[in-house]
């Protein structure tokens, strides 16, 4: 028989070991899954984790790593601030879409202006505001009426997806697009383009913002009173209130920050890698970022690493689809398993397993 014994303090070592263990377990169970799909598990794991970095197409896939990791990290950093305070914004995907739509709409309103110095910064601000607004809705409803932010933010994702479809087919549709749905290509218009900053690296403005966000979040959480308020609220809401944290203000603030960062990810994506507002613009970064945030222990540096790892599974997963014919669902299952194992193993951070009959506390 096994019993769990509460540790006097959370284990530092386990809090770092569990993500690694979760990755290893995911590879093992994922490998077994691939066997059942009739694939060579070693080859599949290698295709997903090794080939994108060092395989024969690495020169193409390696820059993709930053392209995919950028939005994941940017969104996950914002989410982690709320998660740490026990504020569960699950709707980053919707905020990401709304940031892209709002930012793109502002940019397109200036078409065919050539004033990049004005339009591009304006679009970035508009993207952040669009995302922040979409996150503010569940925040204010929670503060005013006690609604559950998990449900409201999640449902707003579907509203955002419909607004996206409407924008792509209606107001933002390219008038010169010969009737095809989708906006003008922002990446090919110099005023609004978000190109690679250093050729061959995949590094664009969104990635730069992601790195800045990592550093800013690190400083905020470790030194600033707001970061402290977030951590105390997550650790002990009553102690936070006693200390002077206004929980309602914190909910609004955390929602605004996470929404703004998701919105930024959206605007950088639509002006760069995606290029245009289209019906299939949302590819699930907002949801995958939740995995990134938890896999990274809600810690900025951890999120940076987790973002890169999840980006790898995106790219590797695509390669596995192409080369081995693995179904796309198998890759999503793979990512889901990662979160599942992580959360399951998390118990070891606060509890110590004891084996044997005489373990009564």
């Amino acid at each position: 028989m096994m019993r769990l014994e509460r540790r006097p303090q959370p284990s530092e070592a386990w809090s770092w070991a569990t993500p690694i263990l979760a990755v290893v377990l995911t590879m093992i169970v994922g490998g077994i899954l691939f066997v059942f799909l009739g694939k060579d598990p070693i080859l599949a794991i290698r295709t997903i984790f090794w080939d994108p970095l060092f395989g024969s197409f690495a020169s193409y896939t390696r820059p993709q790593l930053l392209v995919k990791a950028g939005p994941l990290i940017l969104i996950a950093i914002g989410l982690s601030l709320g998660f740490r305070a026990g504020i569960w914004n699950i709707g980053a995907e919707g905020q990401y879409i709304m940031g892209a739509v709002t930012g793109a709409a502002v940019g397109l309103a200036f078409y065919p202006s050539e004033a990049r110095w004005l339009v591009f910064p304006l679009m970035i601000v508009a993207g952040a505001i669009g995302g922040a607004f979409w996150a503010w809705i569940p925040g204010i409803l929670k503060v005013r009426f006690g609604t559950n932010e998990i449900l409201v933010s999640l449902m707003l994702v579907y509203v955002a997806e419909n607004i996206l479809a409407y924008a792509a087919l209606g107001p933002l549709k390219n008038p010169e697009g010969m009737g095809f749905p989708g906006s003008r290509n922002l990446a090919r218009w110099d005023t609004t383009a978000n190109p690679e900053l250093i050729a061959g690296t995949g590094m664009h403005w969104g990635v730069a913002f992601a790195f800045i966000a990592v550093i800013a979040a690190y400083v905020l959480l470790s030194r600033h009173t707001l970061g402290f308020a977030i951590r105390v609220t997550g650790a002990s809401p009553r102690a936070a209130a006693f200390s002077g944290v206004d929980p309602k203000r914190l909910v609004i603030l955390a929602m605004l920050i996470s929404g703004a960062l998701a919105g930024l990810a959206g605007i950088f994506e639509v002006t760069g890698p995606a290029g245009q507002i289209s019906i299939d613009f949302g590819v699930g970064y907002g949801f995958t970022a939740i995995i990134v945030a938890f896999l990274g222990r809600l810690h900025p540096i951890g999120i940076l690493l987790a973002g890169l790892l999840l980006a790898l599974t995106y790219i590797g997963g695509e390669m596995a689809q192409l080369q081995l014919g693995l179904p796309a669902a198998a890759i999503q299952l793979f990512q889901g398993m990662l979160l599942f194992f992580l959360l399951a193993l998390d118990v070891l951070t606060n509890f110590r397993p004891r084996f044997g009959a005489d373990a009564a506390a």
């Binding site: 006097p8 303090q9 009173t225 951590r231 002990s236 009553r238 102690a239 006693f242 200390s243 002077g244």
Partner: protein, 508 residues
């Protein structure tokens, strides 16, 4: 009386890193009220759990009424005539008294018969209780009666009571003692756990004192002074708080018609609470928990906002100001729940120092916290208040209750407050830590601060208060000078009168 009912021989129980009981041996006579005394962590709980079959000892043996006794679960203990009333009640609020008692029985009789038996037992032992009342409406004392009657229905030979008076008013304590004496006359043995030494002196014939898991002394409490017993418990000479009398200064804190609904679902609203506290004064506020104590503290700390004029600090209305603004003005507080309210259990002591001391100790500048200064302040608190911990980097939850309480109180006192409000400052704290906390509060008042102590422990309040007021159902009585108040007067102030008439009827 000389006949031995339960005999413990060499009981030892070790947990990882700590020996809870080491070679514990003593006898409980038939019809004896036997006290088990000891500080927190002395091993009292483990020992009674062993007797009640909740814990199996590593070694040692027990005999009950001459036969070997090795209960592996409470039902076996009950079958042998051992019953226990726990400190924390396990009752369902939504059910009535009879339902609750039936739920705790192995083979409950039909409801009508059970209700009659409850009435019979409650009358026989002077514990008035109506079996059809809903438990949620009962006072703490009445709930305890439900637990006691549940035990008495089993006709126990040995009744174990864990800190039974901690939730009772003085009048309710009298009723309880009356019952326990009656049980003793009928030959029932009682193992009575308490840290209230005067009670033990009034009730018990033998006391076994535990320290660090071992029996250190056995005495007759009727012939031993409370002070001697306390010193045996602590193992050192006990320091009795002393105070230098100072003339009271000007009014620093005034509550003017403070009324506020409770922020919690089953809380108590404050109703027109008015009081004044002067510099250098200790105001004691007594009352049974759940009568608005928590709400009063929240209204003073700033966690709960009221109309500005309801709370006035040095003549300035602050009822609408948040906690940090009040701290800046010199109003500090320490809530009752040290784990999770006064401190964040999972955070380090350094972080917990920054929790409330940022403003007055200048631990942050331009929104950035200086962890170096915070650590320095945590170290200062640890040193000045003798907090036992390896260092400020340890999580608050790793500290024992008494040590964390010393840290929490010390953190506020070292910020040199002008008004300090504390709720249950020594709840669940061992005798020596409690004495040093009380002394620190008196020293603070001697330096000219106004101190409000909210507590359920009347002995504590009488020891340190200049004036005494009682909180009952959210209403505060007018404060009266503490000196010369009799227990009866205090009892009336506490308004613990809700079942006094029944008790008197029973005595008559």
């Amino acid at each position: 009386m000389s006949e031995v009912l339960l005999s413990l021989k060499g009981l030892t129980k070790a947990y990882p890193g700590v020996v809870a009981n080491e070679d514990v041996s003593f006898d409980i006579g038939a019809g004896e009220v036997h006290a088990l005394l000891g500080e927190n962590g002395a091993g009292k709980s483990t020992l009674v759990k062993t007797i009640y079959g909740l814990v199996r000892p590593d070694s040692g043996s027990m005999t009950l009424a001459g036969a070997p006794y090795e209960p592996t679960e409470p039902s076996q203990a009950r079958a042998r005539g051992v019953a226990m009333v726990f400190q924390h009640f396990s009752l369902f609020d939504a059910l009535n008294v009879a339902d609750n008692i039936a739920l705790g029985m192995e083979k409950p009789p039909p409801m009508g018969e059970l209700a009659q038996r409850i009435r019979d037992v409650s009358e026989a032992y002077g514990l008035p209780l109506n079996p059809s009342r809903t438990v949620g409406d009962l006072s703490a004392g009445e709930r305890q009666r439900v637990e006691i009657i549940r035990c008495l229905l089993q006709d126990p030979k040995l009744l174990i009571m864990d800190e039974p008076t901690s939730v009772l008013t003085p009048q309710e304590v009298e009723i309880l003692f009356h019952t326990l004496r009656k049980l003793r006359e009928e030959g029932t043995s009682i193992l009575y756990i308490s840290h209230k030494l005067e009670e033990i002196r009034a009730l018990c014939e033998t006391a076994t004192i535990l320290r660090l898991g071992k029996v250190v002394a056995t005495c007759d409490p009727r012939e031993t002074s409370a002070r001697q017993m306390a010193e045996l418990m602590v193992g050192s000479v006990l320091h009795v708080p002393e105070r230098a009398a100072a003339p009271p200064g000007e009014v620093v804190l005034e509550l003017a018609g403070l009324s506020a609904p409770s922020p919690r679902a089953f809380g108590t609203a404050l109703k027109d609470v008015s009081l004044q506290v002067r510099k250098g004064e200790v105001l004691g506020i007594g009352g049974v928990a759940g009568n608005g104590q928590d709400e009063l503290l929240l209204a003073l700390s700033g966690e709960m906002r009221t109309k500005p004029q309801m709370v006035q600090l040095k003549g300035q209305p602050v009822g609408h100001r948040p906690p940090d603004a009040r701290r800046a003005l010199g109003l500090l507080a320490a809530p009752e729940e040290r784990n999770g309210h006064a401190s964040a259990p999972d955070m380090t002591l350094t972080e917990n120092a920054a929790l409330t001391a940022r403003v007055r100790k200048k631990l942050s500048r331009n929104g950035f916290i200086s962890w170096r200064r915070s650590k320095g302040y945590a170290e200062e608190v640890i040193k000045d208040f003798d907090v036992r911990t390896p260092g400020p980097g340890n999580a608050a939850r790793s500290l024992s209750g008494g040590n964390l309480q010393k840290f929490v109180i010390g953190r506020e006192i070292l910020q040199a407050p002008e008004v300090l409000v504390v709720n249950q400052p020594t709840w669940g704290v061992d005798a020596s830590a409690a004495a040093s906390i009380r002394q620190a509060l008196l020293d603070l008042a001697a330096k000219g601060a106004a101190v409000i102590v909210v507590s359920q422990d009347l002995d504590e309040l009488m020891e340190i208060s200049d004036r005494f007021a009682a909180l009952n159902a959210g209403v505060l009585t007018a404060p009266r000078p503490a000196k010369g108040l009799t227990m009866e007067q205090i009892g009336l102030m506490l308004g613990g009168a809700h079942d006094m008439h029944e008790a008197e009827a029973d005595h008559a």
